[in-house]
Subunit: 346 residues, 2 copies
DNA sequence: CATGAAATGATAGACGTCTATCATTTTTCG
DNA sequence: CGAAAAATGATAGACGTCTATCATTTCATG
């Protein structure tokens, strides 16, 4: 049993394969100009010795730097503001790892604007792109262009069509919708009720999925609770406030609200004004949703833990850039926040 | 405004400070033999230029390798088996990062055994130790010895006294206990009941904390639910099974069980035999607790997400070894699993 | 001022990979 | 067979840090 002291270098591989360092290098870095026979010898030697290229040395020699672009919907949406804060907090560690982050903002729910921006991003040849997906044929082309030129693309928070990205990083939104339904149903304890759903827009896949999961469980297990036609709030507080107030005024039987997207500040104001208690589930633990929970206006906050989404996106893009096998990641699960398990305020 | 193209090297620092590379090196690596005046000049230059040492280059030049030791309680406890599985799954990435992991097992809940083992671990001069804490004066000395020789120590899952470790990585067990009480209380919907608590041992701080949080919320918010004297099950299935069966037989009013520690297999068997439904909260999502949830024997599983604990422990020990500022980490929060939000089975 | 001690400077080599260049060998095929 | 094309080999230098050694300068002290 040979002592496992040190891992083999590319020189060791070359020697074992009976070729020169230069040829071994041509093979492992896919530079071409190598006879198939030599290539086979080298790959065999790599396998036999268990060679793994030393990424640190490689990046050192190349003075490799990374530039990752995050494309977020703009507007006042507090969730994406939080995402930006998290990125800012990661800054020191990132610059130590020679990684630069750029955050781009494009109008929310507008596929053409996103498509146009993705094209511009592709021009700048970044080392990775994380984008909050929209379901639209308009963005297929720019995504294909990006990926065609070897830029890793990950969809964040809301998925893109599978062909458009290397990976999706975010919670299972169907599951989130099911959880909301279960909690909302339980809160009714068998009594009848009417549930109002507020979402941003139906071309956001995360919103659509949450809605679908919500409907599925409510219909199956809580038939006594009816679901009203959903309100599209475009993630804008004024819109949400106006339309929810109107709905509450019109239908006094509304017993619960599931707020799938943004505009939660508006929801909070509408509830405050309304007076009568309504069981309310919202997404994303943020300053004002936390406050709503503590005040009793909101009953449940489902959180997707954006820190972990950011970290997952970063480490994934890094791994893709380093040409290293992807690290294992437990699936990201929505977190249930009630009054009792709020994390300490930072 | 100078172009920020590349980050300064130690040579740049030396030049700026007006000293030789050797002196700058002596300062930043704390080798001594430097006049205070020179040291000041160097630290000033470091600050002015924003120098951060290139860890990749440093580790490359030193052929630095890491050896981390995890000390787990032994026995059949499925949770720690899961921890070991997770470590095994991290193996490829770890060996790429030149990191070796050793897992040691010591008898559960026995401070002397743990102390003895920690001494042996200290002998082997590892680069970091992660240990599941026990509250006992017996382990203070070996911990002090470890930390005295510069070995980072992190407490995992259950905390040690603050002086004994560099950091605690695990959930807030008081919070976990409070969450259990809230869910258990809600399940009673105002009706009276009796809650049975099963724990491993009271010298495990995590168990003690969960118990305390549980009592606090139940007493405060759910006075109708009485708490019976707790059972010590030593995390052993036979013990738990026997004592829970006995308790259920003796007191027909038991309406809920909170199982704080291990031996959950025994609990499951006892419940199966018992027949009458009892609201049951257990910790840790594992094969059999998941099964219990799906079968309806368990109602809630509180999970501490061991993957994240392992990852946090590894990255923390790494950062300490690399002498790099600690990366920000969101606090680890207990996860509530119900039937609807089970992650896909791998 | 002389002497020994302490501080400082200078520098070479190693770590593993990548880039680049040029020389040499082998293969292909008209 | 001969010429062009393709493949291969050899090797030097760079990346930033650490280790080590030795020479030189500065300082404290009697």
């Amino acid at each position: 049993m040979a002592s496992q002291t040190k891992s083999p270098t590319l020189s060791d591989v070359a020697q074992r394969a009976g070729v020169s360092y230069a040829t071994a290098d041509r093979v492992v870095n896919a530079r071409g100009h190598v006879a198939e026979k030599s290539a086979r010898k080298v790959t065999a030697a790599v396998a036999e010795l268990g060679y793994v290229r030393n990424v640190a040395a490689a990046n050192l020699s190349q003075q490799r730097e990374y530039r990752f672009v995050f494309v977020f919907p703009d507007g006042a949406n507090a969730f994406f503001a939080r995402m930006r804060d998290i990125l800012a907090a990661r800054q020191p560690g990132l610059s130590r790892a020679r990684t630069r982050i750029e955050v781009a903002q494009v109008p929310a729910f507008e596929p053409e604007a996103l498509a146009a921006h993705l094209e511009r991003v592709a021009q700048s040849r970044p080392d990775g792109v994380a984008v909050v997906g929209i379901d639209s044929a308009a963005i297929a082309a720019p995504l294909a262009a990006l990926r065609g030129s070897g830029v890793p693309v990950v969809s964040l928070v809301s998925d893109l069509p599978e062909t458009g990205r290397n990976a999706y990083i975010g919670i299972d939104n169907l599951m989130a919708g099911r959880m909301a339904a279960r909690l909302l149903g339980l809160s009714h304890g068998g009594r009848a009720g009417k549930a109002l759903v507020v979402l941003g827009a139906l071309n956001a896949r995360d919103h659509r999925d949450r809605l679908a999961g919500f409907h599925a469980v409510l219909r199956r297990d809580f038939g006594a609770v009816a679901v009203l036609p959903e309100i599209e709030g475009r993630d804008r507080a004024e819109v949400v406030e106006a339309r929810v107030s109107e709905a509450l005024a019109r239908d006094p039987d509304i017993s619960a609200i599931y707020c799938i997207g943004g505009g939660r500040r508006g929801l909070r104001r509408a509830l405050e004004r309304h007076g009568r208690p309504v069981f309310c589930i919202v997404h994303d633990l943020l300053d004002h949703t936390r406050a709503g929970l503590e005040e009793g206006l909101f009953d449940v906050v489902l959180d997707q833990r954006p820190e972990e989404e950011i970290d997952a996106a970063l480490s994934l893009m890094r791994a893709l850039g380093d040409r290293v096998p992807l690290p294992p990641r437990a699936p990201l699960l929505p977190m249930i926040f009630l009054r009792d398990n709020l994390p300490p305020q930072p």
